[in-house]
Subunit: 301 residues, 2 copies
């Protein structure tokens, strides 16, 4: 089974009761909760980061593991235009891990947390064979204003932030800009708020598994198709890396047809890559040909 | 390092800003979040449940794993007197796991979720060497009313719900009542609300790691000491199992000195086991002698 199939099987068994305080359940970057009388909606997301699956001890120092575990979660808050507030961390560690490693891990995580005013508010500790981090990030957004994957409409222009493929390239190179990109992705929190408040983006999500698979997911959620004609490439990255490489943590978003989108936001390029079309959902074309969906899926065999 | 030492090192590095919407961070069963304008406080807790650490595939069927992963989280919501609302699940699975196992796991989890009106609202999926579940439970409690570990005062009577040691006994027996107790602990949600609303308990927590260590934690949080003189034992369990065995998921609580506590709540015995004393914190005496703290700690060497 693929991840999509597991989620599909699961979704069929779950339905949100009409009176639920949960505005959005499975199927977006975060779940959305609306507390009784609350002025803000709460965003909640959880992200696994596991040794041997998402990282290796030979490539990620302890502080790098802590940084990235949190960055992945903050990126989900950014994708919804939210303001992060706090996080919980479940951490399972093998027996041989040193106190120094643990201190380094927390240093990397807390440094990023402080930079964004995020508080580590709790979690759980356990043993495991592999270093296993599960970060829960909680953020807030004004009531009803969260950006979702499902809001894109036919004719909406499609944009990405930054340049793509850097993380995939960095995985294969021991140092340099691409390596730093792989190790220290920047959660696009300010950009996410700008997309929500100023551009009134119709849909947004973060690029965690690769443009081809993530855009297909946005199309599926929005019941649209997409036609793209270009993709901004990280310097030195191949076109394949830019189209299918994971972990860039840039934002993919759509706006209404007449929205003026600037070429840059605080030094980050915003590039139009294509246009949403009428469904059927989940069909992505590039220059007139179907684009293979090759992004990352843990469960694909 | 022990879990307590890791948490101690971590806590020293974190302080809650005065203006935070986080009412309670590290150090209780749940974190407490107070949304702007919200009538209710939100409770958030995360619990790992890992193959080879917390359970074995030879003793837990897929549905049992799903049940207990969620039951552990709901128990933390119960301990604070909360009403559970939804959960997020991070699930990492080895390659050999079958679709049937995955379906069984979700069946066990969703059955318990439905019984308590809890919605599975999202999560994450990954590969791992061991089956790894991290459940995030979110609940609500009227503003300012969450029961905490830290509220006990000298002279407060100490109570436990149910009978203890059943789960430890069940770990060692292949069938029977103790085995069922080990496999299917019942989150004491109705009791938790009763403690909050009717008994105005001064402190509460769930017994996950064993009475001796959990009572020491309550004393430390409340800056009290404790003297106990009895412990209600599960039929067939030893006194050691009742004092130090983990995973009973009963509630440990204190009330004001003159509060009338009934002997039973909906079929669950409520037993006075002792009294809180003036500090120093974290010293637990039983019949005049210091009680060894032998409960479960993943990181004790």
């Amino acid at each position: 089974m693929t991840e999509a199939e597991i989620l599909e099987r699961l979704s069929r068994r779950i339905s949100l009761p009409r009176q639920s305080r949960l505005v959005k359940g499975i199927g977006d970057d975060c779940a959305i909760y609306r507390g009784r009388g609350a002025a803000e909606d709460l965003l909640l997301t959880t992200d696994l980061f596991i040794e041997g699956v998402h990282f290796l001890q030979s490539t990620h120092r302890a502080a790098d593991v802590g940084y990235k575990a949190l960055a992945r979660g903050l990126s989900d808050i950014a994708a919804m235009g939210g303001e992060p507030s706090f996080c919980l961390l479940s951490l399972a560690l093998p027996k041989f891990i040193s106190a120094k490693w643990i201190d380094g891990f927390y240093s990397g995580l807390l440094k990023l947390a402080e930079a964004h005013g995020v508080i580590l508010a709790g979690g759980d500790l356990s043993r495991a064979k592999q270093i296993t981090c599960d970060i829960v990030c909680i953020g807030a957004v004004p009531r009803g204003e969260a950006l979702m994957r499902s809001g894109a409409r036919p004719r909406d222009p499609i944009y990405v932030s930054g340049v793509l493929g850097g993380s995939a390239l960095g995985l294969a190179t021991p140092r340099g800009a691409a390596r730093r990109r792989h190790l220290y992705p920047e959660p696009r929190l300010e950009l996410g708020k700008y997309l929500r408040k100023s551009l009134h983006a119709t849909a947004a999500m973060d690029l965690s598994d690769g443009l081809s698979i993530d855009l297909a997911r946005m199309c599926e959620a929005s019941e649209t198709a997409a036609e793209i004609d270009r993709v901004p490439q990280f310097r030195g990255a191949t076109r394949e890396q830019a189209l299918h490489g994971g972990e860039d943590y840039e934002l993919l978003f759509t706006v209404r047809p007449h929205t003026r989108v600037p070429a840059m936001f605080r030094g980050i390029p915003l590039t139009r890559i294509g246009t949403m079309l009428n469904g059927p959902g989940a069909r992505v074309m590039m220059n007139g040909k179907p684009l293979a969906v090759l992004g990352h899926d843990h469960f694909r065999t």
